[in-house]
Point group: C2
Chain length 324, copies 2
Amino acid sequence: MAVTIKDVAHASGVHVSTVSRAFSAAHLVNPETRARVIAAANTLGYRPNRAARALSTRRTGNLGLIVADIANPFFPPLIKAAQAHARRSDHHVFVADTDEQARAEEELIRSMATQVDGALLVAPRLSNRLIAELSADVPFVVVNRQPANLPAVLMDVASGARQALEHLASLGHREIALLTGPRASWTNQRLEGAATDAAEHHGLHLHRLGPNQPTEEGGSAAAPDVLASGATAVLAYNDLVALGLLQELRARGLAVPGDLSLVGVDNTHTARHCDLTTIDMPTAAAGRAAIDLLLHRITSEDDPGTVTLDTRLVVRGSTAPPAH
Amino acid sequence: MAVTIKDVAHASGVHVSTVSRAFSAAHLVNPETRARVIAAANTLGYRPNRAARALSTRRTGNLGLIVADIANPFFPPLIKAAQAHARRSDHHVFVADTDEQARAEEELIRSMATQVDGALLVAPRLSNRLIAELSADVPFVVVNRQPANLPAVLMDVASGARQALEHLASLGHREIALLTGPRASWTNQRLEGAATDAAEHHGLHLHRLGPNQPTEEGGSAAAPDVLASGATAVLAYNDLVALGLLQELRARGLAVPGDLSLVGVDNTHTARHCDLTTIDMPTAAAGRAAIDLLLHRITSEDDPGTVTLDTRLVVRGSTAPPAH
DNA sequence: GGGGAAACTGCAAACGGTTGCATGAACATC
DNA sequence: GATGTTCATGCAACCGTTTGCAGTTTCCCC
């Protein structure tokens, strides 16, 4: 059905190997011959068969991109940027969703292993041991996590967290609640560490509340604890949590930022529209950087190391001086 | 490096063809032999090579999913649902983003053609002629568009639009602005048609304004025309347009829903948080339905027809009776 | 106990490319 | 003019799996 290298060879009167070389090793074939081959290929509409090529070269030209939840607004900008960047070096990207389950993640990686040259794991839930084990089969680059000996891209929330606490301190807040996220999350660990240090530095009292589910439900469920803590400002694990809390507070008749100031993390599309002060995560840049590392790792085998990207506070209308 | 069928054959003392059959045609091999083969495969960690399999079966087990803009919040729930659904029948999904450009879309399809068993085109920008031409190479299923002779899934905004106009009419609005989207958009055509009919039915005056860019910028840019039209309520092409307009109106000191009522389309995550009345699009259901049609089309070759899904109005806080 | 069907299994040719090696021509070198 | 290079191309094996065909064994039935 489809036109193959053999058809092109026949049409241009050369051997298949010459056609192959005309495409993948131009310098090995006479320019005139090559022109004839290319011309024939074009009129026939020849497209190399990737599967066949993969079989002999052991390169599929495909990458895997594995995220916890495609519909979580944190991920799409990263996916978009990574995909677009991969296309520039003629790679296709499998995108898959683990639904936040480590089990699904492992199975996904295993099932993709024979089909990709490498994979991007974004905030994986897998144990370090398992990641190390699987990385024997497929080159990995990890985003927002730092397993030993694997190239990684980190969006370091610490810089943004420092700015956030400084911002709150300068508004006059003294009692700050920190809504923590999943224990295993690297971002959560950095956030907690940086917030603790910055609180001490500015003489603030930090109420750690959590761990919370990294969802709207997690945010609204945290409302009672937040109110009980006596905090006048809240730094939430991410925008979803912040927005869930926001909704719950408003439902209880409280004003934001009047009664309580609120800071999120991620700077999602929704945060922009809800006028939420938040810490911007460079998701698109991270996606591109991760693809760069991955392609480097694939072609040159050595560890390209770690890239750390800074974050910054975006001040909007959900923060103001405390009430009384 | 990797474990192949040959290793398994050797380990279990049978020919490679028997190993192959043990996996893909169980009934052709003696249960005991099969058990031995499976056991050997498991201890060796054998995983079939998809590329090799694709070469002889002409089935890759891969699907393509092509959308205009991954980061547009309309798409991720569809992508997520489609991907998850495809996984259930052991298919992997390439996700690609055309950045709204027809040219990129065509090239993407061509480059994927040899690697996928079929593709989902969501709201494609391509001409009908080109879609027909390309569909000779790859089985397509189209979402929110209706080219002749291709299976399609349609999220029919008409039902929701009728509910929206009825809602606005019952609140007492008489002058309604419709912010139209891209001319070529099937959704836009349905929206315009349904709004026109419903306006007539309820005795409303409909001001068609557009076409507008289907983005926040499009929405904010439309503000002057909306105000000049004298409308007291607006139905926007999608949530992004509605939210862009909302922001611009508030920046001008106008109240929503006080001075102007606002209805969007899509029911994105952001609309939920911004308390925007909107028309819910069944994106996840559409993703699943589209995968079903595609798999049907791939395995049985005949046209599985068209699936139409209804939409419904979700009333929130951005609509209220007109001011005066 | 001979014939035939049924159940397994092996053989080998595909599938569509890539690539190391061999071949031959053209050309330069001494 | 014999020798050695370089360049361009052909030949054929190989990548890992599937599958039509043929061979072998077992079993059934008359």
